[in-house]
């Protein structure tokens, strides 16, 4: 029944999906936090940039962003991200595109988390003479992060699903393999079930685990 799987690197494709997810998650956590910091910073210009970035990026289809990393950044601006082979370059470009997109959502999640930190905490911090970066780093963000584990988990799961868009620039992840298999093999239903189950295995446990973490981490008020 599963003979047709011969010659296809199913695990390899899902491994690429996992790698795309992990690297993009780390990237968007960093860049998203920076964006959130910009959006609440005392420098008006940075606030403006953060707002503009989030509003633009959230309203473009991810597909457009991903295609643009390849066509615009690589083919036109010559950004190859330090790689030589197309496969590596495309993978890194996809991570970059996914990061650029996902960080807008991370930023918004964090910003709503920042809003849940009680005023008294911040006032107390300022009263003992902490400046803005210190207030953010020592008082606000640690509490904000704890309260947004849930929303961030949702962003992570959405990211896992979004990695399929990397197929648009030929990154050999699960969706690209699925398309290839559908074209060449007859067992459409079986192939679809395999890929559906593959994604269930990636997203459901993540959701359950992080849901549990979210409950543990939440600041009881």
């Amino acid at each position: 029944m599963f003979d047709f799987l011969q010659g296809y690197d199913l695990l390899g494709a899902f491994w690429v999906t996992v790698q795309l997810t992990v690297y993009s998650a780390i990237g968007s956590l960093v860049w998203g936090t920076l964006l959130a910091a910009m959006r609440v910073s005392p420098v008006p210009l940075m606030r403006g940039f953060g707002t503009a970035y989030v509003n633009i990026v959230r309203n473009i289809p991810l597909t457009v962003i991903i295609v643009f990393t390849s066509l615009g950044l690589f083919q036109t601006l010559g950004v190859s991200l330090g790689a030589e082979r197309f496969t590596t370059i495309n993978f890194r470009l996809a991570v970059l595109g996914l990061t650029a997109y996902t960080s807008a959502f991370v930023c918004e999640a964090l910003r709503s988390g920042i809003n849940t930190v009680p005023l008294g905490q911040v006032e107390a911090a300022r009263a003992i003479g902490l400046n803005f970066p210190q207030v953010l780093r020592l008082i606000v963000l640690p509490q904000a992060f704890r309260s947004v584990v849930g929303p961030l988990a949702n962003v992570l799961i959405a990211l896992t699903k979004n990695t399929t868009v990397a197929a648009a620039i030929g990154v050999a992840e699960a969706a690209l393999l699925m398309r290839e298999m559908i074209e060449n093999e007859a067992q459409l239903l079986l192939i679809s079930v395999i890929f559906a189950v593959g994604f269930l295995c990636l997203t459901l446990p993540t959701g359950l685990f992080l849901g549990w973490v979210a409950k543990k981490a939440a600041v009881k008020r």
């Binding site: 008006p44 309203n59 473009i60 036109t76 959502f105």
Partner: protein, 300 residues
């Protein structure tokens, strides 16, 4: 909410003003450097040549022949997906609130399943299934496949939105309905649903943004002639001006979705202020949360 972040720092005095100014300057410099690099590299590669961009400004036919028909397809696919997914989602959402455990379990499984799978996988499957098992013309098959994928996914997201909308209503509404002797079905149809729909409107509009964005997948991967796919015949006519074409298409997407997002947040603000309604709202932000598998108790 708007004034709250300012509490993070003191009102800037003269020194803080200077420091902020310095940061602003530095930021502008970095930004300008990036922009300068992009513009010069583009110019270097002849991508800013007027001939590559001129068609969009001087030739109305480009819009009539390629962009507007493609935009129409994007809108049709998005509208169809929304209109079909909404009643389906409402149905699933109400089932999830059923008093019978088995009904809840079945509806819950369906919702969790389709929320956990990438919409592209659903589209690829639908496209292949239609081509293999049905006699739909190749012209319309991509549209069917895109709409099917979007409906399966969004119905399960909307099921959660509907559920959240009903749960967001004050318990007094159900109590009052019971008090005047309404049955469960009557309470749902005459009291809860109408108010939940109003409460959900912002979330629905912002889900529409997600749908519009996802139609582009059909253009890139299934050969659906939507806005993103219009780049192909366009760039084939004007000497492969792909950068210009993609930029124009991206701007149209941004404008369209930005209008929807703005509309959603206006709607939300108006509903929250509303005196006649219960003030229950499922906000635009809640959608991102509801779109992923797992429990979401705090959607209020």
């Amino acid at each position: 909410m708007k004034d709250k972040p300012t509490v993070l720092y003191d009102v800037p005095g003269p020194r803080a003003h200077r420091r902020n100014l310095a940061w602003s300057l530095l930021f502008v410099l970095v930004l300008a450097a990036v922009v300068w690099w992009v513009v010069t590299s583009l110019a270097d590669k002849n991508q800013l040549e007027w001939s590559k961009w001129a068609p969009f400004f001087t030739d109305a036919r480009v819009w009539e022949t390629y962009i507007l028909p493609a935009l129409k397809n994007t809108v049709i696919a998005a509208a169809l997906a929304m209109v079909i997914a909404l009643p389906l989602g409402a149905f699933l959402g109400i089932l999830r609130l059923s008093d019978h455990r088995s009904v809840r379990a079945v509806a819950g499984t369906v919702v969790e399943f389709f929320r956990a799978i990438p919409v592209l996988i659903l589209m690829l499957f639908a496209n292949a299934a239609y081509s293999e098992f049905t006699d739909i013309s190749p012209d319309t098959r991509p549209l069917y496949a895109v709409v099917t994928g979007l409906v399966l996914y969004n119905a399960s997201v909307l099921a959660e939105v509907v559920r959240a909308g009903i749960l967001a209503l004050p318990a007094g509404q159900t109590d009052a309905a019971k008090a005047i002797g309404m049955r469960k079905g009557q309470t749902m149809v005459h009291v809860l649903l109408p108010q939940a729909v109003t409460a959900m409107l912002p979330a629905l509009v912002s889900q529409l943004v997600v749908i519009v964005k996802d139609t582009a997948l059909g253009g890139a991967m299934l050969g659906f002639s939507e806005l993103l796919a219009s780049v192909r015949p366009m760039s084939a006519n004007y000497g492969a001006n792909t950068i210009a074409c993609f930029t124009v298409v991206a701007v149209i997407f941004i404008v369209l979705n930005f209008a929807l997002t703005t509309f959603a947040s206006r709607l939300e603000r108006r509903l929250r202020r509303g005196k006649k309604s219960t003030g229950a709202v499922v906000g635009a932000e809640a959608v991102e949360e509801l779109a992923t598998p797992g429990e979401h108790p705090d959607t209020r």
